[in-house]
């Protein structure tokens, strides 16, 4: 059994009377894309926040590369290798595409405490940033202001910034959101190749993408994982059908 | 340190705090509902005081002066909201700070131009002057006692307004989710003007009431404004209850600190040094309190948890 790159062990989180996460144990093993699906309100964003560092679980633990990171801050988890894209793009809008990518590279390098040399002349940072931009196909827009990018291009930039970290695991929060068919196809193709670099925990609503990409699927309903398995297993699972997929699958 | 002196000072602290509450309540409402930081609130306090002094001076009636204060401040508030503040809701905090700072300049210099640089006088009306004997044989100025009562009545009124009336529901809804109430078809523009004018009236009332025991002059509002900010930081933005408790805490800390800190210092230093160190410390006491609250609760005692 391969060691999980990322794992949650029985995490639970309540907000008052609302049990947003109920005893959730999921893991991410090397080389896979593990999709998390579930209806709105199932607690997906709460789960993501506990994995990435924005929220502490009430009970249970989060492990990254075998280390317990439950009490580590977001930035420490990022430095240990957790790369993430946001559902609503979190980018420095006034800055250029290149600057955002360089920011990612800077974080990966870990030393922002330099005050005199121009950051855009740092060869190492530029190298990492440009490589990432080339991979997602944004290198030609390097000097465009992020605010002027199309929605699809911003999603690409999100992925590029995550790439600059050279992460050991990716958390992608609804990367297909707002993309048209063209964009979704391209991103799906891209993610397909990504899994060999680092496994991806993919939270998604877009079922076409999920069925095209996922090695495993976990279904989250009302804060609980009601099923985990391969695409076929999930499709055949009665509980899942009832709760979520309805007639479609 | 006699008990009588202690109780007297506590009452003073309470009175100071309650008047601060009137300022803080308006500020916290405006911020809670509209998300606007309003530096010009001190100017509205000043306008209330000047209206009261001017009208009381002309007519000889304190009560008319108070009514003028309420009306004048409310009207000024409504006007300012319609002309300037309206354009600020969508802007960031820096813009709001600068624009309302500009308003301070305009109001202060404008008032100085109309009324001159010398303070105006507002006298305590005869029917409220003189001491009153409290249980225990303590003599306390009737006027200050009245301020405490008026303040508490206003606090009660505000609580009722927020919890029992339609306006109150709109206010609470607005505090929770600004975008939602627009979607629900509530007339946001009118709601905001009303809330702003209400806050202004409270400030004007405070200015008029305090104007009778201190002087009415240009610039009287800003120190009170800043103290009201301290109250809100301690109490939590958007919480009227927080504003009341914070205000009373601040009032008591300031007054009692001024008495006790010099005394406390006498345990360590010679009397002259003790008094000077003590009163310096006392002037900082409120801010030390604020810093202490911040360390434990960055969003205040009753503010929304992050």
């Amino acid at each position: 059994m391969t060691e999980a790159v990322l794992a949650t062990k029985r995490i639970s989180k309540s907000f008052g009377a609302l049990r947003a996460s109920d005893d959730i144990s999921i893991d991410l093993v090397p080389g896979e894309i593990h999709a998390i699906i579930g209806p709105n309100g199932a607690g997906k964003s709460t789960l993501i926040k506990q994995i990435c560092g924005g929220l502490r679980p009430d009970t249970g633990s989060v492990h990254l590369l075998g280390e317990d990171v439950t009490h580590s801050s977001t930035e420490i988890r990022a430095r240990k290798g957790l790369g993430r894209t946001f559902q609503i793009s979190a980018l420095a809008m006034e800055d250029t595409v290149l600057q955002n990518a360089v920011l990612g590279a800077l974080g990966g390098q870990g030393n922002p405490w330099r005050f005199l040399k121009p950051v855009l002349k740092d060869k190492a940072l530029l190298e990492t940033a440009k490589q990432a931009l080339e991979r997602v196909g944004l290198i030609d827009q390097a000097n465009t202001r992020t605010a002027e990018l199309s929605h699809g291009q911003r999603r690409q930039l999100e992925v590029a910034v995550a790439l600059t970290l050279k992460p050991k695991a990716f958390i992608m929060d609804e990367p297909m959101a707002g993309l048209g068919t063209e964009g979704s196809k391209r991103l799906t193709g891209f993610l397909d190749g990504l899994r060999h670099e680092a496994p991806v925990l993919l939270v998604e609503h877009d079922m076409d993408a999920v069925f095209a990409l996922a090695d495993r699927i976990s279904v989250l309903v009302y804060g609980k994982v009601i099923a985990t398995g391969t695409i076929d297993e999930i499709r055949a699972n009665k509980d899942v059908r009832d709760a979520y997929l309805g007639e479609e699958a | 340190m006699s008990l009588i002196l202690l109780i007297e000072q506590m009452l003073n602290g309470l009175q100071f705090g309650i008047m601060l509450f009137l300022m803080a309540a308006g500020l916290t409402l405006i911020f809670g509902v509209m998300g606007l930081i309003n530096l010009a609130h001190g100017s509205l306090y000043m306008i209330g005081a000047f209206c009261a002094a001017a009208v009381a001076g002309l007519t000889g009636s304190f009560v008319l002066g108070l009514i003028a204060a309420l009306a004048g401040a409310a009207v000024a508030g409504a006007l300012v909201e319609l002309v300037v503040i309206r354009r600020l809701y969508a802007k960031d905090h820096l813009d709001q700070v600068l624009a309302t700072f500009a308003l301070i300049l305009i109001f202060s210099e404008g008032t100085r131009w109309v009324f001159g640089s010398f303070p105006l006088f507002l006298d305590i009306p005869d029917f409220l002057s003189g001491p009153v004997t409290l249980p225990g044989g303590i003599e306390y100025p009737l006027y200050r006692l009245t301020l405490i009562v008026v303040g508490l009545l206003v606090a009660a009124g505000l609580f009722l307004l927020i919890s029992r009336t339609r306006l109150g529901i709109q206010i609470r809804a607005g505090e929770n989710d600004r975008e939602m109430i627009a979607a629900l078809g509530i007339d946001i523009a009118k709601l905001y003007t009303i809330v702003f004018a209400l806050g202004a009236a409270l400030a004007g009332l405070a200015g008029a009431l305090v104007g009778a025991i201190q002087s009415v002059q240009v610039g009287m509002g800003e120190p009170v404004l800043i103290l009201a900010f301290v109250v809100i930081v301690i109490g939590g933005i958007g919480s009227i209850k927080g504003a009341l408790i914070g205000a009373i805490l601040v009032g008591l800390t300031d007054t009692l600190g001024g008495i006790f800190l010099p005394e406390l210092m006498k345990l360590f230093f010679a009397p002259a040094t003790a008094t000077s160190i003590g009163s310096s410390l006392a002037s900082m006491a409120i801010y030390i309190l604020m810093a202490a609250v911040l360390v434990l609760r960055p969003t205040g005692l009753f503010g929304a948890r992050p």
Partner: protein, 327 residues
């Protein structure tokens, strides 16, 4: 060479030439005005590191201005009275040497900025604004009650402090000193903006979540920015006290804090020379409008309102057009 760089060079050149010309023609008052403008500009350049780059709306920056001023006042007054500052546990004499005073001003301001930053930066948005304002008041009232150094009346220093190799009593020489400091700090600020720290701080202003998820700590970035910012404004305070040979609690006042922010907004908040243009404009208005009317603050208020509502880019924005991305 961008338009902005050319503009900045012109401003710098003007700031060098005009006072020199005034020196030659004997217009000493112009030199004093220019010195005042340059020192206030320095205070604002300091603030702009926290405000423009870091997005920290500090409404209490006069704290550092006052600390710098009082550092000068206290050290110099002990020197001029020939009494030591402290005798026990070790002897500290006063001093009238500018470099020493500046060092003290900078270190003290940085320390205070560190403490205030540590307390205030745990909050954000409106809370931060109100807290910085409150700390400003705290120092203001404290200095009023500290009668050892003049209290409300302030402290006079009879003779300007000394700088090795210069005669600081000569207006153009003191001006040259202040101008040189401003130029150096501007150079530092320009480099800072383009540096890794600048990129990270600026990103933390726009998208703090993103900064965390790339492995950087926004709070630490902001704290350092606040400390640097306070230190520079503190230096300006020491210079200001030396210009006027007087220090008083008003250096701590909320009006002072407000004015420093006004300089930045008048000039243009995202611009390197915004604080400089704003301070020069303010001093010019203060002098010329102030002559015309006792109530010139009303005009300043309307001007400020106009800029905030309609000309957000300030004077530089109006002259040069749309802001470009930082490069």
């Amino acid at each position: 060479m961008t338009r902005e760089t050319v503009f900045n060079a012109v401003v710098l050149a003007a700031l060098a030439i005009v006072p020199l010309w005034a020196h030659v023609t004997g217009e000493l008052f112009t030199i004093t005005l220019a010195t005042r403008a340059v020192i206030l500009a320095l205070a604002a350049v300091g603030l702009n590191i926290a405000l423009g780059l870091g997005g920290l709306v500090s409404l209490g920056h006069a704290v550092f201005f006052g600390i710098g001023g009082y550092a000068m006042g206290i050290l110099a007054s002990h020197a001029q009275n020939y009494t030591p500052l402290m005798e026990w546990p070790f002897l500290i004499d006063g001093t009238k040497s500018m470099p020493v005073i500046w060092l003290v001003a900078i270190v003290l301001s940085a320390l205070v900025a560190f403490v205030i930053g540590l307390l205030s930066l745990r909050t954000s948005g409106v809370y931060f604004i109100m807290i910085t304002l409150a700390f400003g008041q705290m120092f203001y009232f404290f200095s009023i009650s500290w009668s050892a150094y003049g209290g409300e009346d302030g402290l006079s220093i009879y003779v300007r402090n000394g700088f090795p190799g210069l005669n600081t009593l000569v207006p153009i020489q003191f001006y040259g000193l202040c101008f040189a400091i401003l130029a150096l700090v501007l150079l530092f600020a320009a480099k800072l903006q383009r540096s890794p720290f600048g990129l990270a701080l600026n990103a933390a202003r726009q998208a703090p979540d993103r900064v965390e998820t790339v492995g950087l700590n926004p709070m630490r970035l902001r704290l350092l920015a606040f400390v640097l910012s306070g230190a520079i404004t503190g230096l300006a305070g020491a210079l200001f006290a030396d210009l006027n040979r007087f220090v008083s609690p008003t250096m701590f006042s909320w009006q002072m804090s407000g004015e420093i922010i006004v300089f930045i907004i008048l000039g243009g908040v995202a611009r390197l020379f915004g604080p400089v243009v704003g301070a020069v404009l303010f001093v010019a208005l203060e002098h010329f409008l102030g002559d015309l009317s006792d109530y010139w603050h009303i005009y300043l208020g309307f001007l400020l309102l106009g800029v905030v509502l309609f000309a957000r880019g300030g004077v530089i924005g109006m002259l040069l057009g749309r802001e470009k991305a930082h490069d």
